[in-house]
């Protein structure tokens, strides 16, 4: 079972011999078609070696696989590579085509047919096409493509009976126009039609694999064909698409739709900025206040603090014998810092679970309504300056809610370089809502000017760090290239299903990681490691002009950011000291949950660099601020 992540996927659950892949462009309703076809959900998991999730289910005698939305089969990014792999292994494909975007979607269809992949086309969104004044002649399209074409309206469940009936009839034309290019390949090459098609299109992963096979013995460049051939084939395929759409489609639409007009307002900075700010305000209120503060507080204080933790503690104490050997075990299980059965469970169920669900709910809503890419357009200009493009706006917004969650969303950001920059900035200078709550409370006592000062310092650090990373990291910032899908009212069912699937997958991956971390930290605590760290921090606390017990605040900060800020509420400090202290704890290392997430999403080296970098920046900036205040005698 190749398409299966090691954790929790049960290969025996699907006893099908044949695989059926669902392939289509982004936002064509693939996941809804999947939900309609699937007999039952089996699994959502990361495709091996990637951060791309794929969904598996059973459909009659097939194993049904969803794929990330792509505009063609190639290897331009991670999503495309995953889809490409799945298509290669599939016995048949259901190609979901958006009837309102025939000219865009048929390129992928023709490419699948050129590859000789047995295909059935689900011509989806027939209702929207009708509303748009687009009339598609289904029979003529079937004739032109030479494979079954079934009109569907996936969200209303229309057309699925016929689709199910015709899936066994999936086919591909005996020969297509692309064959003329096979001559470009070496004669002795043994490859399937699918492989040959991609090879003449200059597919790099495949060319390398063939190379290893010994065909290219001269060790030269992996490209088997000249570089211009891909474009020639793409161009030729485009003209086939043009001639097909020309004959099967009649458009009587005039003027802009309501969705068009809303879209125009959203991308125009004058009207879009207030709309975006209002939406962000709502999201912040929902994730940052309602869930991260109120709900999480309730879970931590009431559910866990009052009921669960004391119960577990007394239970463990009664079960374990009072012998000396049991003492370390008891500490590991129920210590107040990160006990495996108490505080760790509290973090996962009481903190992470509500946050993850709220967050996935908000993201799914933004995704399905088409808001996300428009936010990216609005913010592109500003983010360009720190080596990011507009797609990085999501992690930055979510980060103010919860940095741990935001680290996951850096998957949306595009290239590796951009993911690295956005993750580093998140870990460094974006305070999470839990921490912000405490910080705002402390700063409120000092006056508004300190609050602006605090925001100013953070923005400067964010900008400088971004500029620095942009200059020093190899490569160049990737320009924004993003489709703006039609704006729609999201369907509740689809949103909830997405939220639940993603939450399930998240927890399955996160729980073992957090468990292991908790055990490691507790062990360190037991042997007195945490106390030693506190002592070792002495020189640093005096560097930023803080009393010695600030070291304890920092040790708490290693585990959770809001703990650090909260620890400062009991200390007797001057205004300047509070200010410097808050800046230091904000810039200081990401909380343990975030670090685990960074480790999972990036790699150990980047995580370590970010962690060390946070120390340097926090105390560097704190030291400068303390010295400046010292000069003015504050």
């Amino acid at each position: 079972m190749d398409g299966c992540h090691d954790a929790g996927c049960d290969p025996d659950a699907i006893d099908a011999d044949a695989t059926l892949a669902l392939v289509g462009c982004p936002n064509v309703g693939k996941s809804v078609v999947f939900g309609e076809l699937a007999d039952q959900y089996v699994d959502v998991s990361n495709y091996p070696g990637t951060t791309v999730d794929t969904t598996l289910a059973e459909f009659e005698d097939y194993q049904l696989t969803d794929t990330p939305g792509v505009y063609g089969i190639s290897a331009f990014d991670e999503e495309e590579r995953v889809t490409r792999e799945i298509v290669f292994e599939a016995d048949a494909v259901v190609n979901v085509v958006d009837a309102t975007h025939l000219a865009r979607d048929l390129f992928l269809t023709l490419q699948l047919l050129d590859m000789g992949i047995p295909t059935v086309v689900a011509l989806n969104m027939m209702d929207e096409a009708a509303a748009d004044g687009i009339d598609v002649d289904v029979d003529a399209l079937e004739e032109a493509l030479g494979v079954p074409v079934v009109p569907t309206v996936a969200i209303d469940g229309e057309g699925f009976e016929e689709l199910r009936d015709r899936i066994p009839a999936a086919t591909a034309p005996e020969s297509t126009a692309v064959e003329a290019y096979y001559d470009e390949l070496p004669d002795e090459l043994e490859a399937t039609r699918a492989e040959k098609t991609l090879l003449v299109e200059g597919d790099e992963p495949l060319a390398k694999a063939v190379d290893v096979g010994g065909v290219m013995a001269d060790g030269g460049s992996p490209a088997l064909v000249e570089s211009g051939v891909r474009e020639e084939i793409y161009g030729q395929r485009r003209s086939r698409v043009q001639s097909i759409t020309g004959t099967v489609q009649e458009v009587t639409r005039t003027g802009d739709s309501i969705a068009d007009r809303i879209s125009d307002r959203m991308v125009n900075p004058l009207t879009g900025t207030p709309i975006a700010l209002a939406m962000l305000g709502l999201i912040y209120y929902f994730i940052g206040d309602l869930v991260a503060q109120r709900l999480v507080d309730f879970m931590e204080v009431e559910v866990f603090g009052t009921h669960y933790n004391p119960a577990v503690e007394s239970f463990v104490a009664s079960v374990l014998p009072a012998a000396e050997w049991a003492e370390p075990l008891e500490f590991l299980l129920i210590n107040d810092n990160l006990g495996l059965l108490t505080v760790t469970i509290q973090y996962i169920i009481g903190v992470l679970l509500p946050l993850v669900m709220a967050f996935y709910l908000a993201i799914s809503l933004l995704e399905d309504s088409g808001v996300l890419p428009r936010l990216a357009v609005l913010t592109d200009r500003g983010l360009n300056r720190i080596g990011l493009n507009g797609r990085a706006v999501v992690p930055m917004i979510v980060g103010v809610g919860c940095v741990t969650m935001a680290v996951i969303t850096t998957r949306m950001v595009g290239s590796k370089r951009e993911r690295l920059i956005s993750t580093a900035l998140l870990g460094l200078a974006v305070p999470c809502s839990a921490q912000l709550g405490v910080i705002m409370g402390l700063l409120a006592g000092l006056g508004l000017i300190w609050w602006f000062g605090y925001l100013g310092v953070l923005l400067v650090v964010l900008g400088v760090a971004g500029l620095f990373l942009d200059r020093t990291l190899p490569g160049e910032g990737e320009a924004l290239v993003t489709e703006l899908p039609r704006m729609r009212v999201p369907r509740l069912g689809n949103i909830l299903r997405k939220t639940l699937n993603r939450t399930k997958m998240f927890l399955r991956e996160a729980i073992p990681l957090f468990g292991a971390t908790a055990v490691a930290v507790s062990a360190l605590d037991y042997v007195g490691g945490l106390g030693a760290i506190e002592e070792a921090l002495q020189p640093l606390t005096s560097l930023v002009g803080m009393p010695a017990d600030f070291g304890q605040v920092l040790v708490l900060g290693l585990i959770r950011r809001d703990f650090a800020a909260a620890g400062m509420t009991d200390m007797a400090l001057s205004s300047a000291q509070i200010f410097v202290g808050l800046v230091v704890v904000t810039l200081f290392v990401p909380c343990i949950l975030s670090m685990v997430m960074i480790l999972k999403e990036r790699d150990a080296k980047s995580a370590l660099l970010m962690w060390v970098g946070s120390w340097v920046v926090a105390f560097g900036v704190g030291g400068v601020l303390a010295a400046t205040f010292g000069v003015f005698g504050l």
């Binding site: 505009y71 000219a103 200009r381 507009g390 703006l484």
Partner: protein, 78 residues
Amino acid sequence: MSEVLTDVGSGESVRLVDVPDGDTRARLLRLGFLDGAVECRHHIRKGPVIVRRNGTDLALGSDLAREIEIERPQTEAE
């Protein structure tokens, strides 16, 4: 001097004639944006340019748009 996509204002129709980066060119070609005239839906000052072709809207960052050479339809040539 040839004109580039950032010279185009909202509402104009132009052809994208040269995209320097090979992969980006292939992606635009695949989506049909090099087949014929595209309509500029929006040009955000110093920001992305949004172009439309066959009902598909695509936003291109300003750094990229600056590199894409365009051609205006013959009838509008001055």
